[in-house]
Symmetry: C2
Subunit: 395 residues, 2 copies
């Protein structure tokens, strides 16, 4: 009696619940400190102290009816202006407040932009491995997600396959760099080639194809790597950003969309995104936290903490015989499973109280995702289990 | 190139924008204090001081990774537990945390429940006049909104017409009491009769019909009126609540759904609502404000301020010859336009710098909505304009 579309979800969500319950069961048997949960992308590093200070400052100094009240569906104008200027400073772009729409996290932003763009049957391309929710977001608007198979050598997008996957029905492409689940950052060379293909295909089909850059991990990069800002490489680019990871605020649901003036349907798209924000029930991004993040645009979490986790886990896993592309960003390792069946491998890991997510969940079977946004000491405690697991597979 | 569904919205949203621009233009010509904007339902009364105290207490005393972090898609368990207990105390209900799902305001909650319930072509009934967004929320999931014509004598629902409007395709009924735009509270007698009809029709069609009670105005009632709690009258009831008006927090996007154990698909519906919260991109209701409202469940805005506005505006308008059912709740007057064409009448009002919304926007032409969630002094300044307007129409 629930909707047909939701029935399948409810069945699979009970599988996830079962996994969660299993984790709780293990913790009860072995003690919470002896269960190693690497399954969740929930930031472990504290929000920067500026956030608390900014929140209290807003509460003490600004008019409460303004701070907690309705504003334009796009968000406070002064907040959007500050974000635009900060982007311009960092990336040498040319945005104004009219290019920024505050959203309920990146998830809200992606839904808003897909609702704005998609007709039933439209195709949206993404690259495996990918954040599994893309499938659901596209399906919400009766679009069809087309998946480009992975290049497992580098986990850079396979551009030859990409070009083949573009059809007259292609409306948008979603990319995610730094990537969940691989931690790979798409290189400038990759982006240039991708833009070239898109431009060529736009001409070939005489239609627009929108590049949606999902960037919740933009600030989490290591070794001083630069992440190219995509609007500079391809005109029909829309950016979806979130403060969930950069400021460790995932529960607050705060992010924004950038719709540059270069987008060929700029005016209609901004108007549509406004309406979509309203009618999807977001109405606006939460107000107090909008005002607070605008005061913290230079702040970010201490990435060095994630970096230490990355080095510890990566170096040890490789020394045990695991294969993995060293992540350049985000807080995930995407490790080759030691047997073909990644789900079975995740089950084997669980025997060592190690909880990891099969790569199938990201459209890339044969791998597992290990989230290292966890306590450093937990990683240390888990290492012997990873080593034993490798030995069981003859490494 | 934006989606077909959005094209119509963008056209009509530019009409709204034009109205907004017109207000700004008037303010520039005549001065902001000489323009009387009664068009918006944005609470004018300050949030109770407990809210600020609670926010600061949470920030100072609770772990920031917990306060700003992900939790279950349904919200924090302790928050949901407190809300359930508070409802039980007030309404003699029997809810637990498992009946409460925190939502991104009532708008988010309605979208979640409609996504969970509707198949394409399903019918959802509501009573004119109604909050215009219902049409969009239902259309988001390819449902069809069926409108029961108004009873303009009392603005209680017309139950005879209601019964006739129920078909084999009816999946849900949305009611909104205290009502936007009329301010009318549906009486216990009305609710009992409505429940009886629904039960009879469930049997007749051998299918379930869900009653969705949209209750953002529950706490804004006058003259010590009791608003019946609907889950006690009809088993298949789902409540959508919001703190937007009761605590003057509309920008924070915080509310909840109540799914009672008596709902015949309780387990599936809770599971579906969880998934819908996630895949629609809400993920969860904003976290800090969840924790804060849980500390303020006894607090509410000073309703007496709205009551003073109500008395001032109602008594004077009636004395000028306007016709209006005296509102028992919310902060709107729904006044009979002094000519048949409500849009034209609203234009005439604008000549006196009075901004009001035509009833057509609420499925009830021939009336206008006057929102009195405004400054008392502004009402006083606007009264001569209302009087002149009445005189122009020969009152």
């Amino acid at each position: 009696m629930i909707s047909d579309k939701m029935k399948a979800f409810v069945n699979s969500s009970s599988a996830i619940r079962a996994m969660f319950e299993e984790g709780k069961r293990l913790a009860e048997i072995y003690g919470a400190e002896n269960v190693y949960d690497f399954s969740l992308g929930n930031p472990s590093v504290e929000p920067p102290s500026e956030i608390k200070e900014a929140l209290i400052e807003v509460l003490n100094e600004e008019n409460p009816n303004m701070v907690h009240g309705y504003m334009n569906n796009s968000g406070y104008e002064d907040v959007r202006e500050k974000i635009a200027l900060s982007l311009n400073k960092r990336f040498d772009t040319n945005f104004g407040l009219e290019n920024i729409i505050m959203t309920v996290g990146a998830a809200g932003g992606l839904n808003v932009i897909l609702k704005s763009l998609l007709n039933p049957g439209d195709e949206v391309i993404t690259f495996a491995p990918f954040f599994g929710e893309y499938r659901n977001y596209v399906s919400n608007y009766d679009g069809h997600l087309v998946i480009v198979p992975p290049n497992c050598e580098t986990f850079q997008p396979d551009l030859e396959e990409f070009e083949k996957s573009i059809t007259a029905k292609t409306k948008a492409v979603i990319i995610n760099s730094p990537n969940n689940p691989t931690g790979v950052v798409y290189s400038e060379d990759t982006i240039c080639k991708l833009a070239k293909i898109l431009n060529r295909k736009q001409q070939e089909y005489n239609k627009s194809i929108y590049l949606i850059s999902d960037e919740p991990y933009r600030e989490l990069v290591y070794d001083d790597l630069e992440v190219p800002y995509l609007t500079k490489y391809y005109d029909n680019t829309i950016v979806g950003y979130s403060y969930s990871k950069s400021l460790s605020l995932p529960g607050e649901r705060i992010g924004y969309l950038v719709i540059p003036g270069e987008v060929d349907i700029y005016e209609d798209l901004v108007a549509a995104a406004n309406v979509a924000t309203r009618i999807l029930g977001f109405v606006n991004a939460p107000s107090l936290i909008q005002r607070a993040v605008a005061k913290c645009l230079e702040a970010k979490v201490d990435v060095e903490i994630y970096n230490r986790n990355r080095e510890l886990l990566y170096n040890n896993l490789v020394s045990y015989g695991y294969e993995c592309v060293k992540p350049q960003g985000a807080f995930y390792l995407f490790v080759k499973a030691l047997e073909q069946d990644d789900k079975k491998f995740a089950q084997e890991a669980k025997k060592h109280n190690i909880l990891i997510v099969p790569g199938s969940a990201f459209g890339c079977p044969g791998y597992v995702r290990i989230a290292y946004c966890v306590d450093y000491e937990m990683i240390k405690r888990a290492l012997p289990g990873f080593e034993k697991l490798a030995k069981e597979y003859g490494r």
